[in-house]
Amino acid sequence: MSTIAHERFEAVIGLEVHAQLLTNSKAFAPVAPIYGEAPNTMVTPLCLGHPGTLPVVNENLVRYIIKMGLATNCSVAEKSIFARKNYFYPDLPKGYQISQFDTPICFDGYLDIELEEYNKRIGLTRIHMEEDAGKSIHDQDPYNTLVDLNRAGTPLIEIVSEPDLRTPQEAYAYLTKIKQIVQYLEICDGNMEEGSLRCDANVSVRPRGREKFGTRTELKNMNSFRNVEKAIEFEIYRQIELIESGGEVVQQTRLWDTSKNQTRIMRSKEEAHDYRYFPEPDLPPIIVTTELLDEIKEELPELADVRQKRFAEEYGMSEVDAVTITEDRYLADFFEEVAEAANNPKAASNLVLSDVLRVLNEQSINIKEFNVSPARLAELIKLKEEDKINSSAMQTIFDAMLDNEKSAEELAKEMNLIQVSDTGFLEELVDEIIANNPDEVERFKAGKKQLMGFFVGQAMKASKGKANPKMVTQMVAKKLN
C-alpha cells in the first residue's frame, strides 16, 4: 500500500466470526457432531431433512452463547426467537437454516484489543445462534459435487462486530481476542484452519475525515488468521486503487484465493439471496431468566485479562511474560499445573516460556498436543532444585523427555547426568585443578575474581559435566581465600 493512499484513505472493517460450539450434540438433533468420521455417518433423519422431523434446541447451545455474551460485555435478551433463513443448496438439507434474525440473544457488547502501540475498544453488534450446513466437496470427483452432512446441524454462534476496525492488524488482534475468549470459555476450540472458527469481513474505504462509509465488499473463504489479515490488506489496496483511478467500488461478495493471494468476485449485490427470514414455528422463544443468567455468571471461568494480572501479582511475572503465558488458556493451565506440582512458579515459568514454547513453535503444535505432562516437568524442576543436576543437564534431559516416557530422574541416571556432590571426590578434583594451574591461582589471589568461572569450567570438563558447580565454587573460594 502506498504511503499516499494511507494518508488519504482509511479503511472501515467489520468482522463476522462463526464459532463452532463444543456441545455434546448437534444444535437441534441428539447426535454427536464428530469430525473426521466417514462422510454421512453422523446423521439422523433430522440432519438429512427427512419429512416429519422436528428440531429440538440443545440446551448447551443457549448456555454457551450466553457465556460468550457475558464475556464480551453484551446485554442478554430476556426473550429471543429463532428464525428460518431460506435458500436452496445441496448441503442445506431442509432448504432453510435455523438462525436468529431481528432478536439476537446477545447484543451491544464490546471487547478490548491490544496492539503494539495502542489498545482499542471494539463494539459488538450482536451474537446469535444458528446451525451449520453440511459440506460440499467439489474437488474429489471430476463430474459431481459430493455432499457430507455430518456437519449439518452443528451449533454455531455468529459474533458480529461494529465497523470499528481500521486496519488489517486490528482485525487480526480482534480475531486473536475472540479465539482467546472462546478457548477460555471452553465453548469452541478456536481452530481456524479446521474451520471451527470462521471469519467473513466487510471492508470499505473512505477519504480520511469523511464520516460517511464507502461502499463495502464482503470477503469470504479466509481460513487462517494470517489470511484474514492478508485478504483485508489486499482488498483495501484494491478499493483505493479503484477509486484513485476514477472507478467505483461495487457492493459484492468476494472470495479470498489463497493460491493467488488475491480476492475475486463471488456474487454481486443483484445476485444476493432474498433469504425470506421468518420466525421458526417449530421452536418456542428462548427465555433467559435472571436465575439462569446468575447461574451462568457463576460458571464463568477467569478470563485472560484477569488471569494475566493475577500471574503478575501472584508469581511476580513480568507483564510481557504474563501476557505470553495467558494468551492461550491451555498454556496458562499447563503452566499453573507445573508451578503447583513443582511448588516453584519461577522455575515453571522459565521452563514453559523458554523450552516448552520453543518446542511448540518448532513442531508447530499446540500445548494440548505437547506430550510431556506437567507432572514430569515438575519432577525435572525438582531435580535441578535439589542440585542433582545442573542447568545444562536439565536442558539435555528436557529434550530427551520429548520422545521418552521415562522420568527425569531415570533419564538423568541413564545419561549419567546426576551431579557429583561427593565432597571427597570434588575436593580431590579441586586440589588437582589448583595444582595444575598455578598462574591462574596467583592472579585469582591477586584479585582477579572473574577467574572463578575458569576453575569451575575446568572442574566441569574434568568431571564430564557432572560436578556440582555450586559446590566447586564454594571449595575453590575456600581454598584460595
Binding site: P51, L54, V56
Partner: protein
Amino acid sequence: MIPNTIQDARAQILAGNLKLTDLVEHYYTNIDASNEEINAFVYLNKEDALKQAQEIQKKADAGNHGPLMGAVMGIKDVICENGKPTTCASEMLGDFHSVYDATVIERLKAADAIIVGRVNMDEFAMGSTNEYSRYGAARNPHDTTKVTGGSSGGSAAAVAANMANTTLGSDTGGSIRQPASYCGVVGIKPTYGRVSRFGLVAFASSFDSIGPLAHSVEDAAAVLQAIAGFDERDNTSAQLEVPDFVAAAQNPKKDIKIGVPEEFFGEGLDEGVKAIVEANIKKLEENGAEIVPIHLPHTKYGLATYYILATAEASSNLARFDGIRYGHRADKNAVLDELKAEEAEIKARLKAASDEEKPKIETELEKLDSALTRLYKKSRTEGFGPEVKRRIMLGTYVLSAGYYDAYYGKAQRVRRLIQNDFKEAFKQVDVIVSPTAPTTAFDIGSEINDPLQMYLNDAYTISANLAGICGISVPAGTHENGLPVGIQFLGDVFQEEKIINAGRLVELLR
C-alpha cells in the same frame, strides 16, 4: 354382526364373542369390496396387521391388553410409519419410505391399536376436497359423485365406509373436521401442542394438529387419549397432564354454556345446513344448556390471515423436497439437454441480432440457469401438483423482501386479534357452536378450478387453527339432499373435555 365402534368391538372381544383377527379380516373384506370405488386406502399391510391381531388377542385373553385394543385404524399418508411408504399423496414422494415412526404411531402401537393401512388425502394436506392426490380423488361413501372433503378425505371416507373403525387425520385449517362433516363421522382437532407433531410431515408448522376420526365421540376420545401428551421430540408440545377424555364422553354434563357467534351463521351458509345446526342448538338448550349469543369480530379476516401465514410456513417446510437426498429428481440428462438447447437458441439469436439488441440477449445468456438451479426447478415442477405449487408461490411471495411487513407481519398481528376474540369469548362460555362447513359435500370436479371457492369451505374451521384452540365435528343430521351435516364445537386451549362433552350431548339427542 360386527360392531362399528371400538367400544362395542372391544366389549365383544372381551366377552369372547369376537376374535380380533376376525375383526381385522372383516375390515379387509370391506376394503376389498369398497375401496376401488371409495379410494380411501392407498396402502395396505394385511400380513402385519393380522400378525399383530393374533398377538394382541393373546394379550386380551390374558387380560393385559392396551386401551386401544379393538381399534382397527387407517393412517393419513402424511404421518410417518417406519418402513412404510409416506407419500403425502404427492408424486414428489412417490417412492419414499419413512425410516422412523411418528410419536403418534408409537403411542397407537403401545396402546394395542392395529393399523390396517394408509389412507388418501390432498397432496401435502393442501386442499378441501381430496381431489389433489396422486392416487386420484377419494369418494364420499354417502354419494360417490360427491367429494369427501379434505384434506383428510381418505380418513373420513374410510370410517364412513366401515373400512376401519377409526383413523388419524391432520388438521391445518379444517382438514379433519370438514371431511368428517361431509362424510358423517366424528373428527377432533386437538389444541395445538396437545399431540406431538414429531413424524407429521409439516404443512404449516404453527397450525398442524393430528387428531382422530371415528364413528362415535367416545371412540374419538379414546384415540385422542392414547396419542396426546408431551413429547420431548417436539418443542411445541405442551408439558401438561392429559385429562380423562373418555370419562368426559361417558358422563357428559348437560348444563353447559354454549356460545353462538353471529359471524358463523351469516352469508354463504346453506339454509338446510343452518336449519339442522339450529335445531341441534335448540335441543341442547331444551336439554339444559345455556345458549349465549357472542361475537368473534375478527372472523372475517380469518381466511386471508390463514392463507398468508400457512402458505408462508408451507413454502419453507416444502423446501426440503428438492430431489437431492430423496424423492423425485428430474432426469439429469434431460436437464442438461434442455439447458444446452436453450443456450444454443439464445446464441443463435445473438448472432443474428443487431448491435442494439445484443446487450439484452447477452443478459439472457448470463441469466440462464445453472444446471443445479434447473435441476431444482424441474424436479419440483414435476414433483408437486397444482395446489401445492400455488401455495408455495403464494408463501414465497408474502415472505419476500419488501412484502413481509405488509403481508406476513400484518397477518401475524391479525392472528393475535383472532386469538383475543376467542380468549374473550371463552370467559363467558364453555364451548362455541357453529356449522362445521357452509354446505354439504359437493360434486367431484365442481370446485377444482376455483381455488377461492374451495378455500371458503374452511371458513368456519380455520379460526380454530389460527387461535390454536380445539374443535370437534359431530354428525348433526341429514340434509334434504340426503347428505350428512356436521355441527362444530370449539373449545378453549387444552379444554378438549368440554368439546367432547358437547359432542356427546349431540350424539345422545340425535
